[in-house]
């Protein structure tokens, strides 16, 4: 069958670029004539033998669908499945005209009446919003059908998304496409990753990162690994983004304890399962993708603040360093170029299925010392020697080089620009001013070229591999054994070369001779996972499925760090060549988890499912008093539309309806040894060995335990043209762990202490609505809306505490975890004689007011609730319009609301450097704000800003070339697209971008609070050519 297809497509038309060049010279008429000449005889031949051929593609992305079934209605035994290119070929069809039915899991079935002998049949299958027979990954041997699941699983059809729009990273795949999953990018630096939180803040201080699995193997899920600049709030490099979106088939997200119970301890924050592409069917498909694009900081002159200064003559001067640097011919920001290519071959032959890919890309940021180069390769093989055994390997490799600029607290061009001042402009220098006065050109502290002399980068080599064997010795028994490893070797470097430029040397002072810092890390995650499932019919109507398994996970981290300061001469750039070497460190740590589970599921008539499970875990971090921890689970799923009574009570437009309910528990343990009281080795007097108190420990420390109830339904509407998933959840984290300060008088004040501090509740709703507004042959319009709302609350705190303070963030009973509490100025009066705001009164917390300060100047007003620090509402609206048959326009707008951010840019400008217009003419502004700006940093409620926003995140226009054109050079499909990202933001936030955050400003759970001189999300365009053979 495959040979015939090739013969039909290729021989007469030629291949290669020379042919492509000639194509432009031909007239359409000549082309049509040629094709007619070629095709008609073939048609005749096919008709004579009762053959039909064609292609099946996805309606939304025009991506070929491999493995789809095609049958001839009324002709039993006449059917086939599509090959890797989505192509099918039927033979032995009788009659002159027949009806073909095409179906594929996840798509709505379609029918066409066709002529026997036709060779250009094209089915465009529309997505089926609700697919109850689809199998999702749940931790058991064979996964589970959606119909049996009592909990929701967010599924991102990555292959479809990537086919529609070039997606730069895995987090971009998830952002806005999974209700309840919050992606917080923080910075626009290329290569920097996002924090991901699922269903709100469920811990005080432990990591909020969900677990990540790739093809069944637990992988490194850290963010912010290694690079020195990250210590100061610069963007984090997320290990999640090491994986190439082009290689991913789908992403399934288990959002909380109810769904993730079988993943046990560490799974309380949810689980992200990444399933990479596999060879799906017979035949071979070759795909090539080439991208070219650019990234830039949109409207920098309008978003980098204009700052003011009153000169000695009393005149107010202003500076916008973006404009002054542009005028000078030395723009601060550039347009970074991006280009990449990716290629893959997938398909199958006999018992073998394969997917092999490689990709390489370069992506430059808006700052000259920011960018990322990456190379990916993947080989996925599947061998099915017989119906009892199935062997799969998944092997992925990535090599990347990421450079990050300083930002946030690290300084850099953003810091110097955000906090610029006219006082530092050359024309304002006094005649006897030191040289730096004219060199800084209005920037704060130093000009950009000074900061950019320093380089920070990370090189990684990462291998993620797994081997999975499925063995089905009997019809009623399935075994699955997965063994895998995720090995990441990271090299983080910071280098300031020996500077020869006198101006730069001045700004670096004693560091001008340079330094080098290097940190080499290894992270090894190993997975050993056995699962078994036994299925049998208890009665003709009742089916039993018993699953059991054992998992053993190991994590190992090691690092070696060295530093060398002061190179004797230019050109030296190694630690060995430095004059002093103050730091050499090495360390390692490990953590292992062993767990078992058993699950029993009873199904009644394949439409009512009851599931109960118990997981038992132990972990290296558990104290001696905490041995095995158990996590129970129970769920109910009821496919109501298959009940006979359903049609009697429910309107006909509801064609699928599943009710689900689930209860489950899972955990999150603290780091290894946090329970122990420990000392750290330090150099003592004369450099002798010594110890110093480190962690006070907490022998009573136990793991957090998440308990969750989830209720919801999945509904297919209007004959599956629309689908609605609705979920209500209520999650309680018991023994929530807080990293709280230790009274220094104990001797162990240098490190905070992990304590089980209380209980956190997260309650919310998630809704996903997908629908096909219109679907015609040449036109179509799909809409999608996802929405989630979260109400978090601290339910109780241990002991007599009702409040735990962490700067401006407090954990207070009755309020959302991580809420803003500060003194709130409610009134003040401006005294024109002194130029000061006086009679400053604050909210007393009881609806009245009270003086903010006592006579000594100490703030005495209470801190009152100002708002949440993490969004309570979020979601996205996506649209896919198909028009003129071959064009598609996809757009996505995402939004976050009901939260506030600490705009430290404004505080530093107005309260510290006093370069706001309010500082120049305080009499013209609100005295309440002036009172704060004139305080010594003690009153700051004016910078706790509403950060809600909506962002036009993605717009992509695609064109699918007609097959007769691409066929002329031997290809099967060609898609050209122009995509743009981050085009517009609607927000009242006063900072440059409401998505910015100062990474170090969050508490231990990675919630993100403070914005200070961070680069906004970059706008980008990408031109893509995708060609398949």
């Amino acid at each position: 069958m495959q040979h015939r297809t090739s013969w039909f497509a290729r021989p007469s038309l030629g291949t290669g670029p020379q042919r492509h060049g000639q194509a432009a010279m031909h007239s359409v008429a000549a082309l049509v004539a040629l094709i007619t000449l070629l095709v008609v005889p073939v048609h005749s031949a096919l008709a004579q033998s009762g053959e039909i051929s064609g292609t099946i593609v996805s309606e939304s992305s025009q991506r070929p669908i491999a493995g789809a079934q095609v049958v001839v209605e009324g002709q039993t035994g006449t059917g086939t499945v599509t090959d890797a290119s989505g192509h099918f070929h039927l033979s032995g069809v009788t009659g002159a005209q027949v009806t073909l039915n095409a179906r594929m899991l996840g798509f709505r079935p379609a029918s066409q009446t066709v002529r026997v002998g036709a060779t250009d049949i094209r089915f465009a299958l529309a997505d089926r919003p609700i697919e109850l027979n689809q199998v999702v990954v749940t931790g058991t041997a064979g996964g589970q059908q959606q119909r049996a699941l009592g909990n929701s699983v967010a599924k991102v059809n990555a292959a479809e998304v990537v086919a529609n729009a070039p997606i730069p990273s895995v987090e971009s795949l998830i952002n806005g496409r999974a209700p309840g999953v919050t992606v917080m990018p923080g910075t626009g630096m290329i290569g920097a990753g996002a924090n991901i939180r699922i269903r709100g803040v469920s811990t005080f201080s432990l990591s909020g990162d969900p677990l990540i699995y790739v093809d069944g193997v637990r992988v490194d899920n850290q963010t912010g690994t290694g690079m020195a600049v990250q210590a100061f709030g610069s963007g984090v490099v997320s290990r999640l983004n090491d994986f190439d979106p082009n290689d991913i088939e789908s992403i399934e997200i288990l959002k909380g304890p109810a769904a993730a119970t079988l993943y046990g301890t560490e799974a309380a924050r949810g689980v992200i399962n990444i399933i990479t592409k596999k060879g799906a069917a017979e035949g071979t498909q070759y795909s090539f993708t080439i991208r070219q694009g650019a990234n830039w900081f949109m409207n920098p002159e309008g978003r980098v603040p204009t700052n003011y200064w009153r000169d000695p003559s009393g005149n107010i001067q202003s500076v916008n360093v973006v404009q002054t640097e542009d005028a000078r011919g030395t723009p601060i920001f550039r347009t970074g170029q991006m280009q990449d290519w990716a290629a893959n071959v997938s398909g199958g032959a006999g018992t073998l299925r394969y997917f092999v890919s490689a990709g390489k890309g370069t992506n430059d940021g808006a700052e000259p010392n920011n960018g990322r180069d990456q190379f990916n390769a993947r080989t996925n093989l599947q061998i099915t020697p017989n119906e009892k055994i199935d062997l799969q390997t998944s092997l992925g490799y990535v090599q990347s080089h990421t450079t990050l600029s300083c930002e946030g607290g690290c300084g850099g061009a953003t810091w110097g620009a955000w906090f610029s001042t006219p006082a530092n402009l050359p024309q304002n220098c006094a005649p006897d001013a030191p040289p730096q006065c004219s060199w800084v050109r209005g920037f704060q502290s130093s000009p950009p070229e000074s900061d950019r002399a320093m380089q920070d980068w990370q090189d990684i080599n990462r291998f993620t591999g797994s081997f999975t064997m499925r063995f089905k010795p009997f019809k009623w028994m399935t075994h699955r054994l997965s063994v895998g490893t995720d090995f990441t070797q990271t090299k983080n470097e910071e280098l300031l070369p020996y500077l020869t430029n006198d101006t730069l040397r001045y700004f670096w002072g004693s560091y001008a001779d340079g330094w080098k810092y290097q940190d080499r890390d290894e992270a090894v995650f190993n997975t050993y996972d056995y699962n078994g499932t036994v299925q049998f019919d208890v009665t003709p109507k009742v089916n039993s499925s018993t699953s059991f398994g054992v998992q053993y996970y190991t994590k190992y981290f090691s690092n070696i760090t060295g530093e060398g300061d002061f190179f004797p001469a230019p050109g030296l750039e190694t630690i060995s060549s430095a004059a002093t070497k103050p730091t050499t460190l090495d360390d390692y740590s490990n953590n292992n988890t062993l767990g078992f589970y058993a699950q029993e599921q009873f199904g009644w008539q394949n439409r009512l499912f009851l599931t109960a499970a118990l997981r038992v875990d132990n972990n290296s971090a558990f104290g001696k008093d905490v041995k095995w921890v158990t996590y129970p689970k129970a769920s109910l799923s009821w496919v109501l539309n298959e009940e006979p009574m359903f049609r009697e009570h429910v309107p006909a437009f509801v064609n699928t309806f599943k009710l689900r309910a689930a209860y489950g528990e899972s955990g999150q343990q603290p780091s290894t040894f946090t329970a122990l009281r420990t000392f750290s080795p330090v150099p003592g007097p004369g450099g002798t060995p010594a110890l110093t108190p480190a962690s006070i420990g907490n022998p009573a420390l136990g793991p957090e335990r998440g308990k969750e109830i989830e209720l919801g339904f999945d509904a297919g509407l209007f004959n599956d043209r629309a689908g609605l998933e609705f979920t209500l959840y209520d999650t309680h984290t018991h023994n929530a762990i807080l990293l709280r300060g230790v009274a220094p008088s104990s001797g162990f004040g240098a490190q905070s202490q992990y304590v089980n501090a209380g209980e956190i509740m997260n309650r919310g709703i998630e809704a996903l609505l997908k629908g096909q507004i219109f679907n015609g042959k040449d036109y179509g319009w799909d809409l999608g809306l996802n929405f989630s709302a979260n109400q978090g609350r601290v339910i109780k705190l241990s002991g007599s505490d009702t409040t735990i303070v962490n700067g401006s963030i407090q954990q207070r009973v009755g309020y959302a975890p991580d809420s803003w509490f500060r003194e709130k100025v409610v009134s003040a009066r401006f005294d024109p004689n002194t130029g000061q705001a006086v009679d400053v009164m604050c909210d007393d917390g009881n609806g009245g007011s009270t003086p903010c300060y006592d006579a000594s100047g100490k703030v005495i007003a209470p801190r009152v609730f100002l708002g949440r620090a993490v969004p309570a509402l979020e979601g996205s609206l996506s649209s896919n319009v198909r028009f003129f048959k071959r064009f598609r326009l996809t757009t996505m707008v995402d939004f976050k609301a009901h939260y506030k951010k600490y705009n430290n840019d404004e505080r530093v400008r107005c309260q510290v450097f006093r370069t706001c217009m309010e500082n120049m003419e305080p009499e013209k502004y609100d005295p309440r704000v002036i009172a704060q700006m004139q305080s010594s940093g003690t009153l700051v409620d004016f910078v706790v800003d509403d950060a809600k926003y909506a962002k036009l995140r993605e717009v992509t226009l695609s064109w699918d070339a007609p097959s007769q054109y691409v066929g002329r050079f031997g290809a099967k499909a060609l898609t050209l697209s122009l995509a743009m990202r981050n085009l517009h933001t609607w927000t009242d936030y006063t900072g440059p971008d409401p998505e910015d955050f100062f990474v170090s400003g969050g508490s231990g759970n990675g919630s993100t609070f403070i914005d200070q001189s961070m680069l906004p999300q970059l706008t980008s365009y990408v031109l893509t050519a995708h060609l398949s053979f």
Binding site: S446, T678, P681, T692, S745, G749, Q911, S935, G937
Partner: protein, 444 residues
């Protein structure tokens, strides 16, 4: 279907069920039989459990560690006290450290002075480093007192003397910098109570040091006890201790360039990192026949004991220039803990009158600067002693407490606008920080 056939099918199903459940149970039995402890073992190669050090065989390590904690703490203490006083001023652009220089740190109890470690160059801490040092030495002393010579060896008494000495200085510095402090999660105590605790530890050090024949410990303890006795108003006791200190005696904190923890913190934050600079008020201290009060400089010379130099280091704040005390010219410059000079100044202050002048002029001779020839009434001598201490003990951690106890004027005056926003306050000692107030059950 007959009943027998149905029964037969039921029996087979029951057997089938049993056999399948047996498979599951057997699998779990095998797994349960495994020894899982080995699978869960984890190492902590960079930390030492408390149980390891709580051992008489580790007594010397315990005391050495306490000394190390103190050596680090005194560095950051000295820097902070210099910034709050008129010795140093801020030269950076990080606002967190400004409350020191603005002298309003005392009103910002959640600030860095309570939480930051001794290794933070940008924003050195006070309360936590001194608390750690105090606990380490007191803990060592308590442990050693509970052990026997048989447990520890013949060095036990000397180790006790050392531990007591450093505990004494920890209490002393805590009292000089903090208005209130708590110890071992107890209720807060005031400065005088801290000096009393220090005096007790110095007494132990003198006794044990004497028994062990460790004259350096004894001499340092004399200096320390003289200091806290003076601060408590026991001038006679102070004088009697101070005069026992031999000429030239000096106990220094160990410093080194091998690790940030061992840096001479004063040098590190000034000449090395450009974060703080010698305040313009202290850049050219003059010494002469009277206490210099401005005006003519005839008869006055620049005091070499308070010599400063301009560093090549660029200040983080481009409007500032870095000056540093030349006595600290490298990361390994020693940082004094107790000196003969201080003992003599204590003796002068306790003696008063012409006797004080004699003592001070002897110190001036050693420094090669002109004698004092001014008035010897009580007020003049007090002014002389305060001024002499400012020079002779420059950047050694005394000035701020001297401003407090001599009630010297705060310059710039409270209420004056601070150059980076806000106004100068009147902090001389630091209030009990939030980190102690919120986490110590005995603080209300």
């Amino acid at each position: 279907m007959t009943r027998i056939a149905m029964r037969g099918r039921g029996v087979r199903r029951a057997r089938s069920l049993r056999s399948r459940w047996f498979v599951v149970a057997a699998a779990f039995a095998v797994l349960a039989a495994c020894n899982t402890d080995q699978l869960l073992n984890a190492n902590a190669p960079d930390r030492v459990p408390a149980s390891t050090i709580d051992d008489p065989k580790q007594a010397a390590l315990m005391v050495n560690s306490a000394v190390g904690d103190f050596d680090c703490a005194i560095g950051s203490y000295t820097v902070v006290e210099a910034i709050i006083s008129d010795e140093f001023s801020d030269a950076q652009l990080g606002a967190a450290g400004w409350p020191y220089d603005r002298r309003d740190a005392g009103t910002q109890t959640g600030g860095i002075y309570g939480t930051n470690p001794c290794t933070n160059n940008q924003n050195p801490g006070v309360y936590t480093p001194l608390s750690t040092a105090r606990w380490s030495s007191d803990n060592a002393l308590t442990k050693l007192q509970g052990w026997t010579d048989e447990d520890v060896g013949s060095s036990r008494t000397d180790l006790m003397a050392q531990a007591a000495l450093y505990a004494g200085f920890s209490y002393t510095l805590m009292g000089m910098s903090m208005c209130e402090a708590a110890f071992d999660l107890g209720a807060p105590v005031d400065q005088m109570a801290m000096f009393a605790l220090a005096e007790d530890r110095f007494g132990t050090a003198i006794a044990d040091g004497g028994t062990a024949g460790d004259q350096d410990v004894v001499n340092a303890a004399y200096v320390g006890r003289a200091r806290v006795r003076l601060y408590q108003g026991n001038t006679q006791g102070a004088a009697s201790d101070a005069q026992l200190v031999p000429a030239g005696f000096e106990l220094d904190a160990s410093t080194g360039s091998d690790d940030n923890r061992r840096y001479n913190r004063v040098y590190a934050v000034t000449a090395q990192f450009g974060l703080y600079t010698v305040d313009p008020q202290s850049r050219d201290l003059l010494v002469g026949p009277t206490v210099y009060a401005g005006g003519s400089t005839a008869g006055f010379v620049s005091d070499p004991r308070a010599d400063v130099a301009q560093a090549t280091t660029r200040a983080a704040d481009p409007t500032q220039t870095i000056f540093y005390p030349t006595k600290y010219s490298a990361d390994d410059s020693p940082l004094p803990i107790a000196t003969y000079t201080e003992a003599q100044l204590i003796l002068a202050e306790a003696t008063g009158g012409a006797g004080a002048v004699t003592i001070i002029n002897a110190l001036r001779d050693a420094a090669g600067v002109p004698h004092y020839t001014g008035a010897t009434d009580a007020a003049s001598i007090t002014a002389l002693v305060a001024d002499e201490r400012r020079r002779a003990l420059f950047a050694e951690g005394f000035r701020n407490y001297d401003i407090q106890r001599f009630n010297l004027p705060l310059i710039p005056a409270p209420g004056t606008a601070f150059r980076n926003g806000g106004f100068y306050g009147n902090t001389t000692c630091l209030a009990l920080p939030d980190v102690e107030r919120f986490n110590n059950p005995n603080v209300h």
